[in-house]
Symmetry: C2
Subunit: 341 residues, 2 copies
DNA sequence: GTGAAAGCGCTAACAT
DNA sequence: ATGTTAGCGCTTTCAC
């Protein structure tokens, strides 16, 4: 590598190769049919010698193709997303793309700001795990011809390609498993539901299961607060269902963590005093007490498929074709926390 | 937002405002001293009405400032890095920057490829958690004037600004704590050490502690393999130190997880049969058995400070000033897994 | 206080 | 098979 090799331009290469920069450009874009073998070989060698790399900014400015996509996620510290992002990154590489990422912390204002800011860099499309509070804005973007893939969120009516998991079915299956294991009353522990579709769908599956299997009213506990309030919720749930065998279902990893901490503080035995089950399968769920029954989501594959779908859209002439929902199956990992006694 | 508002250029704004695009450009760059208040107000209003946003690609091409930085990490699914990246992202936003990230999975070839690929996008600098196998290459980049911040790695001689934690000291402190808790022999469980400086430093602190406190030879176990081989390592360690009270120290979250899984399989009691302590404090370490004693690293702050430092470098005329090491303190979170019996 | 014009490093339409 | 030329949307020098 030479000093300043990042300052070498197409003109330098052209001059040394004794051809016009058009020919170099053709070479760079693989249009070899428009040049002699000698030109081709000479150019190849010179590029290699000079360590020339084309300036993407200039290419993008001209062609409006930045080879960059934008990723908007709720919270990258959540393992579900960090694995998803790894899938996205690996897949991007295969397509010759890079990605710019923004963490929006559930803030819809931030979501809009970041989308505009990434568009300033001319990202060619987005993979968005939306707050679900900017639907009009997203539709606007879509009308402008910017491909958008929704991940882990379903917005109705269906306006964007959507990558998600079989949330309803797997939640319902988990309920069935709890029934089969002898649990009689199920508490549903979730963060604030807001508009977020996954939470709504999961709670719907729970509610349906309550009616259809457990003959109980839904008992939904919102645990956005601290450890104490989570512990209180659990105590309330236990009090309200004294004689029956009980289990809690958690809607995401954070809810799971909070419930486990509270159960720990309360000194409850799993699964004798309380069964536990829910989203999501994390590296450590097998190690807590008797092992926690948990739902595994294929987040890496989800990330890959998001990119596949986005690339299809980007390379598609006509962009207003009907959006599709792609649903990947989850897996219920059964462990001691929901054992039949 | 209007249709096609991303197609509006500085020329459109200039035409409507009835001024030259130079004036618009001055407005965009805050050079208000070169225009009348009327011009200024008019431009402001028109930009707002049109929802005009300048094309970053064009700005960057001209100015060679992309407002983009590059992040290279080993593995984004490791909570240490995902939290670090959150810190980086939040801090970037304050500076008006975005970042392009690459996950290199400990692969030095990928590291080089990604660095070049991000440079094609004219990132203005890098925050790199290097494989430590591309030092010459990184030095080359640095000579070309590309600011590089090393994070979580120390390369000697010191050629880059470096953000790290007080690894040696905190590891040594952890050893002291084990001694104070009545442990007599310590096993060191690590992934392959390779060139990675953190692992070297941690193992050095361990080795020194062995000599200075425990009067033992270092007992280092490499656990890159599967669960079975980790379990074997633990059995060997126990066999080799039959009569003494024993503890293991793990060098990162993955090693910790593997050890805990193996301990679980072997049915060992913590801390009676085996004490456990090490990197790193994760959301769940308090929930396993009696709670796991662990080292907390301030990764979010580390991420923020990386960006602070990088911005200093980017905005610095003279870039060859002496590199600095910034060391953030860790915390040892003491729990039941290293209890005095 | 304002504008004309050159140019950043490419691509592509149109020649030849 | 190859070159000429005109931009892409900005910034910046220089002139007035």
């Amino acid at each position: 590598l030479k000093e300043n090799s990042n300052k070498i331009t197409i003109n330098d290469v052209a001059k040394i190769a004794n051809v016009s920069k058009t020919t170099i450009s053709r070479y760079l874009n693989g249009k070899f049919e428009y040049m002699s073998t000698e030109s081709r070989d000479k150019i190849q060698q010179i590029i290699k010698e000079l360590n020339y790399r084309p300036n993407n900014l200039a290419r993008s400015l001209k062609s409006n193709k930045s080879k960059l996509i934008g990723i908007i996620v709720e919270d990258i510290t959540n393992p579900f997303y960090s694995i998803l992002i790894k899938g996205i990154g690996d897949s991007c590489k295969e397509y010759g793309y890079n990605f710019v990422m923004a963490n929006i912390d559930n803030d819809s204002v931030l979501e809009r700001e970041y989308i505009l800011s990434l568009l300033d860099h001319r990202v060619e499309g987005f993979i968005i795990q939306s707050t679900c509070e900017n639907n009009d804005f997203l539709i606007e973007m879509s009308h402008r011809g910017i491909p958008i893939i929704m991940v882990d969120r379903v917005i109705k009516p269906l306006l964007f390609d959507t990558l998600t998991t079989n949330d309803y079915q797997i939640t319902y299956n988990a309920m069935q498993h709890l029934l089969d294991s002898g649990f009689q009353k199920i508490g549903f522990f979730t963060q604030k539901i807001r508009n977020i579709s996954t939470r709504i769908i999961r709670s719907q599956a729970y509610t349906d299961a309550c009616k259809q299997m457990f003959n109980q009213e839904p008992q939904i506990y919102i645990i956005d607060g601290d450890l104490d309030s989570t512990a209180d919720s659990i105590k309330n749930f236990l009090e309200a269902n004294k004689k029956q065998r009980k289990a809690v279902f958690t809607t995401n990893g954070l809810a799971m963590l909070n419930v486990l901490k509270a159960v720990n503080v309360l000194g409850l035995r799993i699964p004798q005093d309380l069964g536990i089950c829910g989203y999501e399968e994390l590296s450590w769920t097998g190690l807590i007490g008797p092992g926690i029954t948990a739902i595994f989501q294929p987040s890496y594959e989800l990330g890959q498929k998001c990119v596949d779908r986005l690339m299809k859209r980007i390379n598609q002439r006509k962009r207003n074709t009907k959006p599709r929902v792609i649903e990947l199956p989850c897996q219920l990992i059964i462990r001691g926390s929901t054992r039949l006694l």
